[in-house]
């Protein structure tokens, strides 16, 4: 279910109309106007990037890095091929927003990428789509065909000298390929595992060429910013947290789905939009930004607004905007066991702390859940976690540790109960 409240990505999209994704419908709701504005009014690359900086758009993939700043890193006068890559390898448990963008409004992404290509002087782009959502890949390819036929994409766009080729590429479902350098490796046809940095993709990216990588939602926000101005976008949200954002709400709510709302909206309002708690149960905890984000207990969450800074201040992260809502029936040990299993299974195995450590974390949580925990296990978990965090090539190591740290910070008693009584504190549901 997708609910448009207020925002830039799904503005004007009719989710009940099977043709709403198509080019005609997109143009009718103001699509490709931004591209036309650039090409027909002679907007310069510097002006576009300035507009992006004004908008305070932050990367929607999870890291929240300012997009305008990232674009300004691209060496614009580099002699040779440069690449623009869209990361639609949406694999973070709880996240399902990019899939919806591609299915319901693919041209917003395409237009955003074309504008990005223009702004950074890039002529070739790829969209790397998660391997397990094949229909999204097919929808994207169909939209590309439309855009090419209409002259928005390809050689001499809208009769100008500007050329931009865009290709879809579907991966094979590895979570790690959402890490941007692993994505590049996979796109090159190699085993998807992260590269060490530096060098960063801006200087050594796809095929060793300067490359800019952004998330699907980030690109899909670009047309609005160019069309309406960065300031207007910024004002949709709050300072340093410009614009609106898609939140994927899952878990124990009455209406799980994607909600596009302004950044800075209180969590309580978002919960209400999602129909409140299912079965009238009590909210226990929320993972506010995808499975890698530390869990926050209900009381903290209810005082929080949904934006990068507020969630960070509360001790977690907004991440990709995947809000996993848990009610009082949830056993936190079992929840962590499942999360830890995910990271154990998805570690690429390249570097030592993550390859060996994620399995260790999972096995210890597993034995606590199965009544074989020992009193020293909780300190062991934190100690092993500390040996992983910050020692790995990419952020997957950190991502595997943060749920453990979050759970033990807020729900340590539940774990201790499991160890002491060899059964669950949460019973009777």
């Amino acid at each position: 279910m997708t609910v448009y409240v207020k925002g830039v990505v799904f503005e004007g999209v009719d989710f009940d109309d099977p043709n709403s994704w198509k080019l005609d419908a997109y143009v009718a709701r103001g699509g490709y106007a931004a591209l036309k504005k650039i090409l027909q009014t002679g907007m310069t690359q510097d002006e576009i990037i300035a507009e992006m900086k004004t908008s305070s758009l932050r990367g929607r993939g999870g890291a929240g890095f300012p997009t305008g700043l990232k674009w300004s890193f691209m060496p614009r006068n580099f002699p040779g091929q440069k690449y623009l890559v869209c990361n639609t390898d949406e694999g973070e448990p709880g996240t399902f927003k990019d899939l919806d963008i591609i299915v319901n409004n693919p041209h917003a992404l395409i237009e955003g990428m074309i504008i990005g290509g223009f702004a950074m002087g890039i002529t070739v782009g790829y969209n790397y789509i998660h391997g397990e959502v094949f229909e999204a890949y097919e929808r994207f390819e169909a939209a590309l065909e439309e855009a090419r036929a209409a002259g928005f994409l390809g050689d001499n766009i809208l009769g100008t000298d500007f050329c931009f080729q865009l290709h879809g590429h579907h991966g094979y479902g590895a979570y790690i390929c959402g890490e941007e350098t692993a994505l590049l490796e996979s796109l090159e046809g190699k085993k998807g595992q992260p590269r060490f940095k530096p060098p960063f993709p801006a200087s050594f990216g796809l095929y060793g060429k300067p490359t800019t990588i952004n998330n699907t939602e980030t690109f899909a926000s670009v047309p609005y910013i160019i069309r309406e101005g960065g300031q207007k976008f910024l004002e949709l949200g709050k300072p340093n947290n410009g614009g609106t954002k898609l939140f994927s709400i899952s878990g124990h709510v009455n209406r799980p789905g994607n909600y596009e709302i302004p950044l800075g909206t209180p969590f309580s309002e978002l919960l209400e939009m999602a129909g409140g708690m299912r079965g009238g149960r009590k909210l226990k905890a929320v993972i506010p930004g995808g499975s890698s984000a530390p869990v926050l207990p209900a009381d903290i969450m209810m005082d929080c607004t949904m934006d990068y800074d507020a969630i960070a201040k509360a001790g977690s992260m907004l991440g990709s905007g995947a809000v996993i809502v848990m009610d009082e029936s949830v056993c936190m040990v079992k929840a962590l066991e499942r999360l830890s299993y995910f990271y154990f299974e998805e570690s690429c195995g390249q570097c030592t702390p993550c390859r060996e450590g994620t399995g260790w974390l999972y096995r210890v949580v597993h034995r606590i859940e199965h009544g074989q925990g020992r009193p020293e296990d909780l300190d062991l978990l934190l100690s092993v976690g500390a040996n992983i965090a910050g020692r790995t090539i990419c952020a997957l190591g950190d991502a595997a540790v943060m749920p453990v740290q979050g759970m033990l910070k807020h729900f340590r008693a539940e774990f201790e109960h499991h160890i002491e009584h060899k059964n669950c504190l949460v019973r009777g549901y």
Binding site: F196, G349, W360, T392
Partner: protein, 768 residues
């Protein structure tokens, strides 16, 4: 230059250095596993994490570039905590079976665990078990011990040129493996054993035969190809147990070819002869040295007296030492004969140069040239480590091209490739000469007749790769040196070198190819064409060491006396009348002069087996018995100092002594391309069972392109009968579309093909 500080030591390092480079330059050791100076940076083991001022997290020293003013702490609390954390992770799934692990005692994980590990483990779950892999007869696997450093994977891809090992699987399930059903077949594969920091990849032939601390380490020099790779020979109880590289950046870097590493198996072969033998009435009788030597001396004297000095010949290979060859030559000179020859696989002895032919430059110079043309060489099999060096050169911009009678993959990018019939190599080079002449608009060089020569695209591509380059080289390989038109080929290459300003070089086929020329143990030409009454064979097996093996075999079989100074039986037992057991390179002191003209002396690493004697001592005593002058040497060093007296460099020259006229000729009909298989090249490799068990040691096949196979009525996988002169051979048929039409590739000097004649010549091929 950047100024930095490591553990309080101030130093300046060039820009682009990593923290690891900087630390190495001042002798600060940072623990590591995946880092290796010859491989790309992987930064995956995380053992080299160090603290860098202002960085919130520890950084991997191997992958962190130095910045000006950087302060690095390799032993601070933050660094050591990170390093110990990584060590704990490495050990949780490591079997800790050191007492039964072949790597025990020379294991980097074991060594570093002493400094960074704990005495007991906090990990109490079951450990990972990983199935072993079959990587072939050279590399043994215990994959449960693997720590996933990926050095072996990077080696096969980056150094050996073809990624024969990979890392499929994810997370804990990541495993190093070869392609499904395939072994690791590189000719330099054994280096992964050295690279593996743990006991996951160990030497299969050496497995469980000794512990590292029981072995004495002795320096030596490889007796195989012309590179002269430096060795550490490891010895226990007077037996060679293992061979490892001795690092020498100018020659073999830190690598060895598989034959350098594994041919030692032959040294302990049961075929080793340990007592002098004399054949009496067709039966071999053991003899003492005195009787055997007197028998030889008297026999040679009698034959010379009866038939003249021209009736005897001394035959050795270029794998013999300077000292041995010098004394062989002196012995024959004392008997009045100049019939000593070592270029046994040559079909054309007509080339005369001003000095000993050599590489014309250093090995490093060739690898760092801007353009190199290799003429007539199956380079990967002839000179495995030089091929590797050129591969690295190509990555840095070297333009490599070939003129060859085949299109064997050098596993690197080629700037140009001319493929011709083996009897048309001269014409192949002339095409390149023509392309250069055309491009430069100059006249054809003197003596080079370019009438009828056309330059095709491939020849022009090679010519273009030399244009506007300063440092270039043209080198001739074994296939060229064995060609029946070698003198012409050489002259054409020399003309091309002069036109392009390239340095001309000859890739010494064997460890002492240059040394053999320096001491004058060559020049007699084909000593088998006109059979002699007596032959003295020094570690020479005529059916495997001579180009026209059939002719040589007939000559030896018809001789009145054959003296074999040999380390091994079999061939010697078959053909000789008297056998003097002599030491292989491991049991004698000696000297090899490598392709770049560098004389490398070595000592014996073990004492001679049984009653075996170093050949130089045998010649010395024979000289005394024959009453020859100047044979009173007390050491091999004395022999060497006389044999190589004077300025060595002045005796090396690739300049033609007399002009050679070169003219293109037509060729037609089915022609043989004969080459020596890599592990048939010398008598040690022929007796190394592990090398023989590799893919390169497999039975030779007849290969031809699809059109030729069809014309000859042969089918892939079927059998072919090859007739050459009076001999024949039956071989399995295989496709090789890299060959020119009407070329059949039939390996030489192999038991299956020993009855055949010249490497290059007309053959009849029919379905068997």
């Amino acid at each position: 230059m950047l100024e930095i500080e490591i553990d309080g030591k101030k130093l300046t390092v060039p820009g682009g250095s990593t923290v690891m480079d900087a630390a190495n330059s001042v002798g600060v050791h940072i623990p590591h596993f995946c880092y290796h100076k010859k491989l790309s940076i992987a930064a995956n083991c995380r053992m080299c994490l160090v603290q860098v001022e202002k960085a919130p997290k520890p950084l991997p020293a191997c992958a962190t570039p130095v910045t000006d003013g950087m302060k690095v702490y390799t032993h601070s609390d933050m660094a050591v905590k990170a390093q110990k954390g990584v060590m704990e992770f490495l050990l949780i799934n490591h079997p800790l079976d050191c007492p039964i692990c072949d790597q025990g005692g020379e294991c980097q994980l074991q060594d570093l665990a002493v400094g960074y590990g704990q005495s007991s483990s906090r990990y109490e779950e079951e450990k990972r078990v990983v199935p072993n892999k079959n990587l072939g007869p050279l590399i043994s696997t215990d994959m449960t011990r693997c720590i996933h450093c990926s050095r072996c994977v990077r080696f096969t891809e980056e150094i050996a040129g073809y990624q024969e090992l990979g890392m499929p699987g994810r997370g804990e399930h990541t495993e190093v493996m070869s392609f499904i059903g395939k072994t690791v077949n590189s000719e330099i594969s054994g280096n992964v054993i050295d690279l593996c920091p743990v006991g996951a990849l160990t030497s299969k032939p050496f497995r469980y035969s000794a512990r590292t601390w029981e072995l004495s380490r002795r320096k030596s020099v490889s007796p195989h190809d012309g590179l002269g790779a430096n060795l550490v020979v490891q010895v226990k109880d007077h037996r060679v147990k293992r061979v490892l590289p001795l690092e020498n950046e100018a020659i073999n870097e830190c690598w060895l070819a598989d034959r350098d590493r594994f041919s030692y198996e032959a040294l302990n072969s049961e075929e080793r002869l340990t007592k002098p033998l004399i054949k009496q009435g067709g039966v071999w009788q053991e003899a003492d040295w005195q009787s055997a030597l007197e028998y030889v001396a008297n026999g040679l004297k009698d034959i010379v007296d009866a038939h003249g000095a021209g009736s005897i010949a001394g035959v050795a290979t270029e794998h013999a030492t300077v000292e041995e060859l010098y004394l062989l030559k002196q012995l024959f000179a004392g008997l009045g004969s100049h019939n000593v020859e070592t270029r046994l696989r040559a079909a054309d002895h007509g080339l005369k140069t001003a000095g000993a032919t050599w590489l014309g430059q250093s090995i490093v110079d060739v690898a760092t040239a801007e353009a190199v043309l290799v003429i007539g060489s199956t380079l990967r099999k002839e000179q495995p480590l030089l091929a590797q060096r050129l591969r690295q050169g190509v990555k840095k911009g070297l333009k490599l091209s070939v003129v060859n009678p085949h299109a064997d993959d050098l596993l690197t990018a080629l700037a140009g490739q001319v493929v011709v019939r083996p009897d048309q190599l001269v014409e192949g080079v002339l095409a390149v000469v023509k392309a250069v002449v055309d491009a430069k608009g100059v006249a054809a060089p003197a003596q080079i007749d370019l009438s009828g020569v056309e330059a095709d695209d491939a020849a022009r591509a090679i010519a273009a790769s030399f244009a506007d380059k300063e440092k270039t080289a043209i080198v001739l390989g074994n296939v060229a040196q064995q060609n029946p038109r070698y003198a012409e080929l050489y002259a054409a290459a020399a003309a091309l070198a002069e036109l392009t300003g390239a340095k001309l070089g000859v890739l010494g086929a064997a460890a002492n190819s240059v040394g053999a020329q320096l001491v004058g143990a060559t020049g007699a030409g084909n000593v088998f064409a006109e059979p002699k009454k007596a032959y003295v064979l020094l570690n020479t097996e005529v059916e495997f060491d001579v180009g026209d093996s059939l002719q040589a075999l007939r000559a030896v079989q018809g001789a009145a006396m054959v003296v074999a100074l040999s380390s091994f039986g079999s061939c010697a037992l078959e053909h000789a009348d008297v056998i003097l057991p002599v030491s292989p390179f491991s049991e004698t002191s000696g000297t090899f002069v490598n392709m770049e003209g560098k004389a490398q002396s070595f000592n014996g690493v073990v004492r001679p087996l049984g009653e075996t004697r170093p050949a130089w001592k045998v010649f010395r005593v024979l000289g005394n018995l024959l009453g020859l002058e100047n044979f009173n040497f007390n050491s091999s060093e004395e022999v060497r100092d006389i044999a190589l007296a004077g300025d060595l460099a002045a005796k090396l020259s690739n300049a033609l002594a007399a002009p050679v006229a070169v003219k293109a000729q037509a060729a037609s009909g089915v022609v043989r391309l004969g080459e020596v298989p890599i592990y048939q090249a010398d008598l040690l490799t022929r007796r190394a069972p592990s090398l023989q068990a590799t893919v390169d040691g497999a039975a030779p096949q007849l290969k031809a392109n699809a059109a030729t196979l069809a014309r000859l009525g042969l089918s892939i996988g079927g059998q072919a009968l090859v007739k050459q002169g009076q001999g024949d051979a039956q071989l399995a048929v295989e496709l090789d579309n890299g060959l020119a039409d009407d070329v059949v590739r039939v390996p030489a000097n192999h038991p299956l093909t020993r009855a055949l004649g010249a490497f290059v010549g007309p053959v009849d091929v029919t379905q068997a």
